[in-house]
Amino acid sequence: MNTLHISGSPHVHTNDSVKKIMWTVVIALMPALLCSIYYFGINAVRVTLISVAACVFFEWFIQKFIYKGKTTIGDGSAVITGLLLAFNVPSNLHWAIIIVGALVAIGVSKMAFGGLGKNIFNPAIVGRVFLLISFPQQMTTWPKPITKMSEFMSLDATTGATPLAVIKSAMNKGEDVSALTSQLPDYMQLLLGDRGGSLGEVAAAAIILGGIILLARKVITWHIPVSFIGTVFVFATILHLANPQLYIAPSYHLLSGGLLLGAIFMATDMVTSPMSAWGKIIFGFGCGLLTICIRVWGSYPEGVSFAILLMNAVTPLINKGFKPKRFGEKVVV
């Protein structure tokens, strides 16, 4: 005779799991990783390996020796943090700095809050912003993409400013930004990533491909990326139309910085973004608005990370304020 189990309904469960979701994100990040290796050579591999290994190690170490509980590094979330952190730094960054970033990301931003699901801020962004503030020099020297195969294995690289930094310094000097076009990469270069920048943000096309994977596998919904990117686009267009000498064309805002990487992979981090559809749209709008403000009027050329962190902080409020539409609210008789 079989022993029968009893429990409340439902008696069946989806095949999905946290592990599957996280590894899907890892896969979706692969096109961008491959691009960055193509452009930055062995240095990209070095940064990524150090970052991922450090993140996974810190998560394991903290779970094992501080929480003295089960370790869950197999779920892949630390790998994602490692990849995203690597994608947000220049490829010539010193290994020790990367490890500090990983410690802040995993230790401070994630494990101190209780681990996966309990953190308020996106770990990779916290790591990145910490490094940006602590090591501003190293974090803003961007290697140029390699041009010859012989440079592939080389650990030194020529450096230059990112397109957004070029624009920012022109703006600060009060120069006409519409005259900059010759100094900036063209759209094709931006799409394919042939420009200076942090590891993972260079190739817009690869990031968009990753986004399509995430959408298709239902890991993310369209709400945050669309409202985030849409908001940046709308405000950049308004500014540009108002004064093209002062404000660069919106396409540069979309393609030339960390916007796509941020909007598709970081703002959508499920743990730190709102739950309801409207909440997500508001979140994306807030991210977009802050990004534009920081880029245009702030002192940093790039504002995506700060914008997302600020919006992470108000996510609990958004969750309180924007409930899903309850069934039966719209009374029809």
């Binding site: 743990v271 719209k330 009374v331």
Partner: protein, 440 residues
């Protein structure tokens, strides 16, 4: 809004209806409906015929019970139901198969509805018809519209959105005309000219059959619904067919709707046109390890063991036996129990399907929120319930939860969301009732 797509596993879809053999002994629980208990009117030693009244529902919300088999009443005592709760039951030792003469047992289809509105309702009450979709609420009560309300839609729930269960599908294919006449009787009882039969898109054969028959009857509309769980939940079905949303805490009739399911409509046909009381139920027997899934008509009170043994016993890997579907059904702790009205399926789930995974932290993925057909936030409700914050539970509308299980099904962290929500619902309901008493 909301909804999920569990594996359908409708193995019994193509399997023809068959009569399960008449057992040697049936045990009929005296009260098989939601409402006031029925009073047993037979005594030990009495001879009964098939269709003879054996327990009477005297209150308004109550239901009659008729003998499902002929024979001698062996005893009247307390018997465990599928959950192991003791209930009053009448045991009949079966002898032959002798029916009440007044019952029309011919297969002829009677399409002319002679009875008037009130006669129909009285007949449905008399024949012990209850909602066979699971709730077992007496059907006549639903048909008597309270003052100040008005029925505008008569709806037949033929969605059958639970995985595995295929019995309504077979009735629609094999007993389609009787079902449609039953639906016409129900609309007549509500004084309406139209009736809407909502069928999920995955039952094409049934839809085609009903549509073809419906051409003969005016005002019978077969509506194809999206295949999505819980399409057959009453509020969701009403929304799909009429576009109306039943407000929180209200009943279908508050938006002018009366919903009955397929088996109920068939039982209504048999009661009104053939003078046959509700003495059997239609059910699917299935499971991944069941070699030959079945669709049966079973006499009420048949031992579940008989059905299982007739099919070679429980499969080796059976972990759970379920009455109803895998999403909302009850897991059976006592398989030594008996079929009752509304027993629509007996499922065997294997260890792989039924195993509960170890819960992990909520990753706030919002899938439960997206899945909830009622627009609730299951992750939040389960948390509030766990912390026993009942006022907050009420504010977040925990009482609107229809316990469909979509949230728990879809949670990648395998959190037991509905377990907590159910608990919170019970406690919050208690709190609300206590408050209402105080205010009185």
């Amino acid at each position: 809004m909301g909804g999920i797509h569990p594996e359908e596993n409708k193995f019994a879809h193509p399997i023809k209806l068959e009569d399960f053999l008449i057992p040697q002994q049936v045990v009929m629980f005296a009260t098989q409906h939601l409402g006031a208990p029925s009073t047993v009117i037979v005594a030990k030693g009495d001879k009964v015929k098939v269709g003879q009244l054996i327990a009477k529902g005297e209150a308004f919300i109550s239901a009659n019970l008729h003998a499902s088999c002929s024979g001698t009443v062996a005893k009247i005592d307390m018997v465990s139901d599928i959950a192991g709760l003791k209930k009053q039951a009448i045991t009949i030792t079966v002898e032959g198969d002798e029916w009440e003469e007044s019952i029309d047992r011919t297969p002829d289809i009677v399409s002319d509805i002679k009875m008037e509105k009130n006669e129909i309702i009285a007949c449905i009450k008399e024949k012990g018809i209850v909602g066979l979709g699971g709730a077992c609420f007496p059907t006549h009560v639903k048909l008597m519209i309270p003052d100040g309300k008005k029925a505008q839609y008569c709806i037949i729930n033929a969605a059958e959105c639970e995985p595995y269960i295929s019995i309504d599908n077979r009735i629609m294919i094999e007993r389609g005309e009787e079902l449609i006449i039953g639906a016409c009787i129900l609309r007549k009882a509500l004084a309406l000219n139209d009736v809407y039969i909502g069928v999920e898109h995955n039952k094409q054969e049934a839809i085609a059959n009903l549509q073809q028959i419906a051409t003969k009857y005016s005002g019978v509309h077969v509506v194809t619904l999206k295949t999505k769980y819980p399409q057959g939940a009453e509020k969701q079905l009403i929304k799909s067919i009429t576009g109306r949303e039943v407000p929180a805490g209200k009943l279908p009739i508050d938006v002018g709707c009366v919903v009955d399911n397929v088996s109920t409509a068939l039982a209504v046909y048999e009661a009104v046109q053939k003078n046959k009381p509700l003495i059997s139920n239609y059910m699917t027997y299935s499971g991944k390890s069941v070699a030959n899934p079945k669709n049966y008509r079973v006499r009420l009170g048949t031992p579940l063991k008989d059905i299982i043994e007739a099919n070679g016993g429980l499969a080796e890997d059976t972990e759970k036996v379920i009455s109803g579907g895998p999403m909302m059904g009850k897991s059976i702790s006592n398989i030594n129990s008996y079929t009752i009205k509304g027993f629509s399926s007996l499922l065997q789930l294997n260890a792989k399907e039924a195993k509960r995974l170890e819960p992990q932290n909520c990753i706030r993925c919002a899938r439960c929120v997206e899945a909830c057909p009622m627009g609730l936030e299951p992750y939040l409700l389960s948390l509030l319930s766990k912390q026993n914050r009942l006022e907050d539970c009420e504010k977040e509308q925990i009482m609107s939860c229809i316990e469909c299980g979509s949230c728990q099904f879809t949670c990648p962290s395998a959190r037991p969301l509905l377990d907590y929500i159910r608990l919170g619902k019970n406690r919050t309901g208690g709190m609300i009732r206590a408050r209402m008493q105080q205010n009185k």
